[in-house]
């Protein structure tokens, strides 16, 4: 099995640094390095949940504190040997995190600043409880009598080595997560949790696991730190200081990379040290605040990202804004398997009976009967407000129908939420594309392959995603970010993502809106290729040229009901349809 370079590099660095105590430096340096490593563990562990998934927690102090107090109490009251308290500290912190997360993550609206405040409040509550119970009792816990195990030449060396081991482990875990399917899911949650959920990412489970890992690592750091301090008080631990510092370190270094928080931790520790050494501790705090402000204003992505971008800019010659090759010209690679299309459409794929949807008394859909046959392209037309988009939203599971039934491939879809419908073989695009903003084009499609196409291995997912990009003509743009794409390309990206889960039915919601005539031609050709691949297509559209060219059959909606059905050219000339669009005036 091929082992990646990065973990080897981390282990090698760790091994090399392990020999440092043998140099016989004064204890002061061991302690300083210990602190730097200690913060690496805290910041990196925080980042695993908060940086990767975007759930900025201000409660890291609570879990760190839980670790400290578990260790301290086990050592002081029950005479546990120090090293055995570490796994206990990790376990307690992780359990606490999972218990909280199980409740908090269930509540839909708790995100962003609400989550941050919630975790901060939890810290203070736990701190108060600890202070007022025998866990601390207001007097703190003294560990003066506890023996420090002899792992290194001196006690401070021992702590250094323990922190080093913890730091190496944490960095390896952080790297491992980033490179895995789990990490890809977390990054997707960061950009657009709802879209990620529809795509099949198990958001609740992933967030809980990330929280558990984050807390466990913080707990270990706490356990080690308890003995390092040898005297712990609740007032010092359950405060805003720890969360603020880890947020600062991670934001400074870069929250999207496993090494970002470590970079920030080293930088800030060095900075604080230089201030303290020069006897300006107070100014040090001000400097920290100033750095945070500067980072938010000027370098919101962190040092690492900025450096990486500079590096890439130098290494590769600037990719000139070459005109995107006309997608129609390229012979698209066909991701296997492909079905031969072209037979008469007679098998019913989607059946809808009596579908109705009302919003507060307004009947958006008033009893629709519809069938979509395998291999056909069906157009949904109608004036504004006629119910077309509502129909798509109900079929895809975003709205629950008020009445009626939906069957897909013989199975009932009634009551299924959006992500289950997506998992059944139906994919949809949105009128306004919602790509994951921080991921590049390839990663965007890879997420869909990983979670919608149920591929396990990120590398395989990327290969398949590449094939879909070639299919839609976006292969040149694979490293670009969605913001760099024009509207046309963004819509094609949407299509690639929708196709990556290999749906049997594709619902397109006004996908041609806003495109130039030549872009529309490209899109029409692509849609035809999608049907030739074996998918059936239902699309809502206003661009009549495309409707005429593409559809086998159209359905016209009006006031929430089906007005007419049949071949496009034929239907659009029927009097009732012309009246619906143009009114009586035409016949005056």
């Amino acid at each position: 099995m091929k082992i990646a370079r990065t973990p080897l590099a981390i282990l090698a660095a760790g091994a090399a640094l392990a020999f440092l105590p043998l140099l016989g430096l004064p204890a002061f340096y061991d302690s300083l390095l210990y602190l730097a490593l200690h913060w690496i563990v805290l910041a990196t562990s925080w980042n695993i949940l908060s940086g990767y998934s975007g759930y900025f927690s201000f409660g890291h102090g609570a879990f760190f504190g839980a670790g400290i107090y578990t260790s301290a109490n086990l050592m002081a009251r029950y005479d546990w040997p120090f090293l055995w308290t570490l796994p206990a500290a990790a376990a307690v912190a992780a359990l606490l995190g999972v218990a909280l997360g199980a409740v908090v993550f269930r509540v839909k609206g708790v995100r962003g600043e609400v989550f941050a405040l919630l975790t901060l409040a939890i810290t203070f509550v736990i701190g108060t409880v600890v202070t007022n119970t025998p866990l601390d009792g207001g007097n703190g816990v003294s560990l003066a009598g506890v023996a420090v195990p002899k792992l290194g030449p001196t006690p401070s060396a021992t702590f250094y080595l323990l922190a080093l081991a913890a730091a190496v482990a944490t960095l390896l875990i952080a790297w491992g997560i980033q490179a895995s399917k789990f990490g890809a899911g977390l990054f997707a949650i960061h950009d657009d949790e709802d879209a990620a959920e529809v795509m099949g990412v198990p958001t609740y489970r992933y967030k809980l696991v990330a929280l558990a890992i984050s807390c466990a690592l913080a707990g270990v750091a706490g356990g080690i730190h308890a003995l390092f301090l040898s005297y712990v008080t609740a007032g010092d631990v359950f405060t805003i200081a720890v969360p603020l510092t880890v947020v600062l370190m991670s934001v400074l270094g870069g929250t999207r990379h496993w090494a970002g928080p470590a970079v920030g931790a080293v930088a800030i520790t060095a900075l604080l040290y230089s201030f303290t050494a020069a006897d300006h501790a107070v100014a040090g705090k001000a400097a920290i605040g100033a750095i945070l402000i500067a980072a938010i204003l000027f370098m919101p992505e962190g040092i690492l990202a900025r450096v990486a971008r500079l590096w890439r800019g130098k290494a590769a010659p600037a990719v000139a804004a070459a005109p995107a090759p006309p997608p129609a010209a390229a012979a698209p690679a066909r991701p296997a398997p492909c079905r031969v299309a072209g037979q008469p459409h007679d098998e019913v794929l989607l059946r809808v009976r009596g579908l109705a949807k009302s919003f507060k008394g307004v009947h958006a859909l008033a009893g629709v009967d519809l069938e979509v046959r395998r291999g056909e392209i069906l157009g949904l037309l109608g004036p504004n407000g006629s119910g077309k988009s509502t129909f798509i939203n109900v079929v895809s599971g975003h709205f629950a129908p008020t009445r009626g039934a939906i069957w897909f491939e013989g199975r009932s879809l009634n009551g299924l939420p959006a992500h289950r419908v997506a998992g059944s073989g139906i994919a949809r695009t949105y009128q306004i594309p919602r790509p994951f903003a921080h991921l590049n084009v390839l990663q965007n499609v890879a997420i869909a392959t990983l979670f919608g196409g149920a591929v396990r291995d990120p590398a395989a997912a990327r290969r398949q995603a590449m094939q879909w990009l070639e299919f839609t003509g976006l292969e040149d743009k694979r490293d670009a970010h969605p913001d760099d794409l024009n509207l046309h390309q963004r819509k094609f990206l949407e299509l690639a993502r929708a196709l990556a889960s290999r749906p049997r039915l594709v619902l397109l919601d006004e996908v041609l809106c806003g495109l130039t005539p030549s872009e529309i031609d490209d899109a029409v050709a692509l849609i035809r290729r999608i049907r030739d691949q074996g998918a059936s297509i239902v699309f809502v559209e206003h661009v009549m040229r495309a409707v005429m060219a593409l559809t086998d059959r159209i359905v016209v909606f009006n006031h929430g009901e089906m007005l007419a059905e049949g071949a496009a050219h034929d239907v659009m000339q029927r009097p009732e349809v012309m009246t619906a669009y143009l009114g009586r005036a035409l016949h005056a």
Partner: protein, 283 residues
């Protein structure tokens, strides 16, 4: 169980401290609700004002007379901060982080000028108190209550009944359409930000009147005031006052019945419950 008079005295002091929570929360809540900015620097402004008031009082000035100096000063500071944040188009979450940084700087500034020692403002108000029946009413706390109620009601009236208030509420809900009717969102934002900072400075003076000052004290207020704001409703002028008093009274009763160190649990638990039960209403 404490005696009735002790309990009543506790409740009264809870009302007083709760009014201060409300006054502190007034600017924070208006800023969050109407400007979509979570301004932790609000606490920095309040404490800077508190220390400045202490300093001016130590030089002989009557603490209440510092208000005409401090309020305009902080109005300008608040407007300037808002201008910077608007210029960089800071998101609500980043505004939380950024103002957190400012709070750290302010704390260092305070500590470098006034050291970490406890400071107590000595004024002629400090010793005054009334006796109403069995209850003692200390004058500094009474001043705080009066100021809090007056300012909260004044702002409520402005928001509810004046064109300016309507314009602010409209701009908060749908700024482009408000602009289509002539509402200059940028100018209003500066005005509101300055007002919130001015309110913070008044709260700071009240803190100086009644409490002992220390740089780290700033953080002790953050949790409680946020609880008052979220409980009372973002963008509301009277909500935080009512919520603050509720919190203050529950804390005081908890302290009287159990022990002072249990007090923080009340406000933070309330905050947690509010955040869990009505997250949608909070943002």
């Amino acid at each position: 169980m404490p005696s009735l008079s002790l309990l009543s005295q506790s409740i009264l002091s809870g009302v007083f401290v709760g009014a201060l929570y409300g006054l502190m929360g007034l600017g924070l809540g208006l800023s969050w609700g109407l400007l979509r900015l979570i301004n932790l620097a609000h606490f920095a402004f309040a404490f800077l004002a508190a220390y400045l008031c202490f300093q001016l009082a130590a030089m002989g000035m009557d603490p209440l007379l510092t208000l005409p100096i401090l309020v305009p000063l902080f109005f300008v500071l608040g407007a300037a901060l808002h201008w910077v944040m608007a210029r960089f188009a800071i998101s609500p979450f980043n505004s939380l982080l950024l103002t957190f940084g400012l709070t750290g700087i302010a704390e260092s500034l305070i500590q470098s000028i006034w050291t970490a020692d406890f400071r107590k403002l000595e004024s002629r108000y400090a010793q005054l108190k009334f006796k109403v029946g069995e209850l003692y009413v200390p004058v500094p706390e009474l001043i705080t209550l009066v100021l809090a109620c007056a300012l909260c009601f004044a702002l409520w009236a402005v928001l509810r009944y004046t064109d300016l208030g309507r314009a602010m509420r409209a701009a908060a809900q749908d700024a482009p359409v408000a602009a289509a009717f002539g509402v200059n969102e940028k100018a209003l934002g500066l005005l509101l930000a300055g007002t919130c900072a001015g309110l913070a400075s008044v709260a700071g003076v009240c803190v100086a009147l009644s409490f002992t000052l220390a740089p780290s004290q700033m953080y002790a207020w953050i949790g409680v005031v946020f609880a008052a704001v979220m409980l009372g409703g973002l963008g509301s002028a009277l909500g935080p006052l009512v919520a603050g008093v509720l919190i203050g009274v529950s804390e005081a009763v908890t302290m009287a019945v159990t022990a002072p160190s249990w007090a923080p649990i009340v406000s933070f638990t309330l905050l947690i419950l509010i955040l869990l039960l009505r997250p949608g209403k909070s943002t």
